[in-house]
């Protein structure tokens, strides 16, 4: 099944092209655009972007798989990523990961059966002064406790 950007997405792609001297520089932003529009970076999205940029799907695939933020598989409505690096670990991140894992009934890397949550761990997200922290989709949640994490996850529609 082939895919295509919406009109807004296409306009954004064209705008991106004006910001760089080389067409290939839009690959990273275009992959974000694909993820936003199609939910994840599917094989079809890779072929589509390759066509727009004017390169091979293999090159786009090689770029997409290098970076952690492009989801090659669908993720839940909420992608919960708990930082497990040193500053967060020193302040209880391991305990929080266990807690959320138990609460949602999934291990890191898995999605709940209803498709609402994907649990993941993340390396340092640059928020060490407010550790422990997690990222839910685009948003940071900081200075977490078991109670606050429960409140945040319970309130998500």
């Amino acid at each position: 099944m082939s895919v295509a950007f919406s009109e807004t997405g296409r306009a954004e792609f064209e705008r991106l092209l004006t910001r760089y001297p080389d067409r290939k520089a839009v690959i990273l932003p275009a992959l974000y655009l694909a993820q936003k529009e199609f939910g994840y970076v599917s094989a079809e999205a890779i072929v589509y972007i390759a066509g727009l940029v004017g390169t091979s799907p293999a090159e786009i695939e090689g770029v997409a798989t290098f970076y952690t933020m492009y989801n090659r598989k669908p993720v839940g409505k909420y992608h919960v990523q708990i930082c497990r690096n040193i500053s967060c670990s020193l302040l209880g991140a391991e305990h929080l990961i266990e807690h959320v894992s138990k609460k949602l009934g999934v291990r890191p890397g898995e999605t709940t059966p209803d498709g609402k949550f994907t649990l993941g761990t993340a390396e340092c997200l640059g928020s060490c002064g407010t550790a422990p922290m997690m990222q839910v989709n685009d948003e940071y949640h900081e200075s977490l406790t078991v109670e606050s994490i429960d409140r945040i996850l319970d309130q998500l529609p």
């Binding site: 839009v26 932003p29 974000y32 970076y67 952690t68 040193i86 340092c124 060490c128 407010t130």
Partner: protein, 422 residues
């Protein structure tokens, strides 16, 4: 102490152009346009401004590496890929004072005769990228960016470019590859970015904080900036303190602050009456210090004298009761995850370090494992294209050198004496 960056950071509106201008914002740019590019570079040299991204290279010297010939267009690239574990300072600048960075970019680009600038920001900083985008748009609308800025005849385009989750992209040649739409693989040098950088252009890559210091330097002069720090390390630094201290956070301090004082006074000392065990002084890649080694000045040279680095000035405080093998295991997982895979000593070495430290922590360490780790380190350090292998080796070696008894005990007892917990 005089502050260079954070004076108005408590004011939520400071991120907006109108408020920034009320406090004198973009006056330095006007002053810069009345100077010659060479005169600006001289002030930056006099300022003893050292790169704030971790390596501490003198910014003015780096700027001097651009080729003299002006026939090829030049670029300025801002490294906003803040990813070194324990580092969270550039985020504060981008959130609280984005126009400091943008004004710094305009002045620096004028000094470097660059007409294109990309701000490469880590992908996870979605909110920060949005704030920067808004600030860039404000600056364009007010004529501080774009064509013929303030009637000076100088043109500059600035674009915010998001990374996508790769620690290695904080390395400048990897960042350039990533900006060009490639995998973030570091490049062999030479050629250095100053001769062949982004899109083949002569390119200077500078950290956010480095460039945000530039307006103040132009306003007050390089000598005044230098005097805020210590010899060879001018100005102030944004210092981040994380871990179980009473007041974790980012503080603007003299480059000559005392490390012990930062932890016990500035950051309020240890939380819950805990005792200090160790300090990682400048981001996770810098060699660890024992608690009795921290009564030192935090500047680049003083830290080098005691075998470590002030790095990104991300101070990680480790309390008594922490298993150092477990702490190292967390770091080794990180470096193995982030190795780009290009160079064998790093790709294989970081994987082996992760496995070896992991098995010691799991109570499955063998006699000779510690020696094997140190041997691996010798075969990684300095043998790769970029410094990621070194960045993994420095904590591995220093944790063993300074806390050897804990590794031996794990192996001897075939278990973690701390119960596999933090």
């Amino acid at each position: 102490m005089e502050k260079v960056l954070t004076t108005h950071f408590a004011n939520e509106r400071y991120r907006r152009l109108d408020t920034y201008r009320q406090y004198g914002g973009y006056e330095a740019l006007k002053k810069a346009f009345a100077m010659t590019p060479e005169a600006i570079i001289d002030e930056v040299k006099k300022a003893n401004l050292r790169g704030r991204g971790g390596a501490g290279f003198p910014a003015g010297v780096k700027w001097g590496f651009l080729p003299k010939d002006l026939s090829r267009p030049r670029a300025l690239v801002i490294n906003a890929d803040e990813g070194e574990p324990g580092t969270f300072k550039d985020r504060v600048i981008m959130t609280r004072g984005p126009h400091l960075l943008i004004e710094g970019i305009a002045i620096s680009s004028f000094a470097l005769r660059a007409h294109a600038c990309w701000i490469y920001i880590r992908g996870e900083f979605v909110r920060e990228a949005k704030i920067l985008d808004e600030a860039v748009a404000e600056a364009y609308a007010a004529g501080f960016l774009g064509v013929n800025i303030l009637g000076s005849g100088f043109d500059l385009d600035v674009t915010v470019h998001r990374g996508a989750g790769a620690y290695i992209c904080g390395e400048e040649t990897s960042l350039i590859n990533s900006l060009e739409g490639k995998r973030g693989w570091p490049r062999l040098k030479p050629p250095f970015p100053a001769s062949v950088g982004a899109f083949g252009m002569p390119t200077i890559v500078n950290n956010v904080e480095t460039i945000a210091d530039i307006p103040w330097i132009v306003t007050h002069g390089g000598d005044t900036f230098a005097a805020l720090g210590v010899e060879k390390n001018g100005g102030t630094r944004l210092v981040g303190v994380s871990g179980p201290v009473n007041r974790p956070g980012v503080y603007e301090l003299s480059a000559g602050a005392n490390l012990k004082d930062v932890i016990y006074n500035v950051a309020g000392g240890m939380r819950d009456g805990k005792k200090l065990k160790a300090v990682i002084p400048g981001g996770s890649s810098t060699p660890v210090l024992r608690a009795d080694e921290i009564d030192v000045t935090f500047d680049i040279e003083s830290m080098a004298k005691i075998g470590t680095m002030s790095g990104t000035s991300g101070i990680i405080v480790i309390p008594e009761g922490t298993c150092m093998v477990r702490a190292l295991s967390v770091l080794m997982n990180f470096y193995a995850h982030e190795s780009c895979g290009q160079c064998t000593p790093c790709r294989e070495g970081t994987g082996w370090l992760k496995k070896l430290v992991g098995r010691i922590e799991a109570g499955e360490g063998r006699q000779g494992d510690v020696e094997l780790i140190l041997d691996l380190c010798d075969n990684m350090m300095g043998r790769t294209i970029c410094a990621l292998a070194d960045a993994a080796v420095m904590p591995a070696q220093s944790f063993i050198w300074k806390f050897r008894e804990e590794f031996d005990r794990h192996i001897g007892e075939q278990k973690c004496p701390y119960g596999n917990r933090f």
